[in-house]
Amino acid sequence: MKSFGYTITKDRQIDYDANDRRLIEYVEGIEPSIRICMECGSCSATCTAGHFTDFSIRRLHTLLQRGETLHLRKEIEKCMLCGKCQLVCPRGVNLRNLILIIHQALDKLHHDL
């Protein structure tokens, strides 16, 4: 393959139809409370990890909903499982469990993520 001194950029657009949504289906099956998130961001605002890394549990959850699971395994390692997010969530989403189930799902589904 030739090189012309520039490369073809990967499209940033979320291609919902092409994305693999098995992970979110698995997670939602076990922890249906994640459905009721209203994306307020309280969780991320208080997140211990989010103050020192670019971890955002709110955004991670939204990306998961869209089937965007790239770097997910690495991403959830940043969570310290302190449970503050869950404490502040106005709708009582079981966020701690979300992280735990993602761990479980990644192993179970043998995702290469």
Binding site: R12, Q13, D17, R35, I36, E39, R59, Q65, R66
Partner: protein, 342 residues
């Protein structure tokens, strides 16, 4: 001698104002341009937030039409004259009706979705409006609508013709959000395995039980919400619709295929309101809806003595709010006719 009021417009506001005034002992003339009463209410299947049958509300309003109300259907007004505190309304067929007070209750029109060219309404086969969907529900024809639909993914687009300066409507139509959530749940009931998405900028669930309905839509019905205004739609080779939004909560552009795209069309002022307001010299707001004398204190009066306003000609309102407004208008009219106050 008893006093007379002419109500122009036989939708929810007009019917309720007429019924109330009639019960207060005022002689009422109700003029409606169409062949039957009910206006937009007749196009609804079930109402938000409790999803009661719209027919129940209509039946109540119709009961108020019983005695003493002179009804003029299929009647278009050609002129309104005024002399010595009396109004004469001249119909196109030459008939003349007179009264001591006028109530305008000429309502709204739905936004013409064709004006949002990039959404492809009227061009793509599977793009419809929320009003069309409601009509399908009402006539139990949903089956036709979803015939041949394979994966059953439905997109519901908020703010079509609202909050959009490009189409001249800066205002929020405020009832589309709850309509979208209601319809999402109703689609889900018909198609339990469908994926249903609402594309919104912010959900304005302002009234009682609305927010709870949003919660229920997520929790019980699994409706998904993507924050981002639809930028454009296109038709795929298989006639499904490709939608493009920015998923503003992830900060990424997003595309997805839907089998059916529903446009939540908002309120626009009706041309008939504009015409009659012109005859009577009434004030229009920047949003082109009519302005009462005082939005807080005299919401049904105008600067034109003896002329009153009721309902959605003043801006988007729910059926519940319209009925309250109509009753307030009736009281205002009665007070004017009895005490001569506006």
């Amino acid at each position: 001698m008893s006093k007379t009021a002419i109500i122009i417009g036989g939708g929810v506001a007009g019917m309720e104002t007429a019924g109330q005034l009639n019960r207060l002992g005022i002689e009422v003339v109700l003029i409606e341009k169409q062949a039957s009463l009910g206006g937009h209410l007749k196009n609804w299947d079930r109402l938000f937030p409790d999803r009661r049958e719209s027919q129940e509300v209509f039946d109540y309003l119709e009961k108020g039409m019983n005695d003493g109300i002179s009804l003029y259907l299929n009647a278009t007004i050609s002129d309104i004259r005024e002399a010595g505190g009396k109004f004469t309304v001249i119909l196109e067929d030459g008939r003349e009706l007179s009264s001591d007070a006028l109530v305008l209750a000429t309502g709204y029109d739905l936004f013409d979705a064709r004006k949002k060219e990039e959404y492809g309404f009227g061009i793509y086969d599977n793009v419809i409006t929320s009003a069309e969907l409601e009509e399908f529900f009402r006539n139990n024809k949903q089956k036709n609508l979803f015939e041949g639909v394979q994966s059953k993914r439905v997109g519901i687009v908020h703010c079509v013709g609202s909050r959009d300066e490009k189409v001249g409507n800066l205002y929020c139509s405020k009832l589309c959000c709850v309509t979208g959530v209601k319809q999402a749940i109703e689609i889900r009931e018909l198609m339990p395995d469908a994926e249903i998405f609402c594309f919104y900028m912010d959900l304005r669930m302002f009234d009682r039980h609305f927010e709870e309905m949003y919660y229920e839509a997520q929790e019980k019905w699994g409706i998904r919400f993507i924050r981002g205004r639809l930028s454009e739609a296109a038709e795929n080779p298989d006639h499904t619709i490709l939608v493009k939004v920015e998923d503003t909560l992830t900060g990424l552009p997003l595309k997805m295929k839907v089998d059916l795209l529903i446009l939540l069309v908002g309120f626009v002022p009706s041309p008939e309101t504009k015409r009659l307001a012109g005859m009577l010299g009434l004030k229009e707001g920047d949003d082109r809806f009519l302005c009462p004398s005082d939005e807080h204190l005299l919401p049904n009066s105008t600067d034109h003595p003896g002329v009153f306003l009721a309902g959605t000609l003043k801006g988007p309102a729910s059926i519940a709010a319209t009925i309250v407004d109509a009753r307030a208008a009736a009281l205002q009219v009665a007070e004017y006719l009895v005490n001569g106050e506006r």
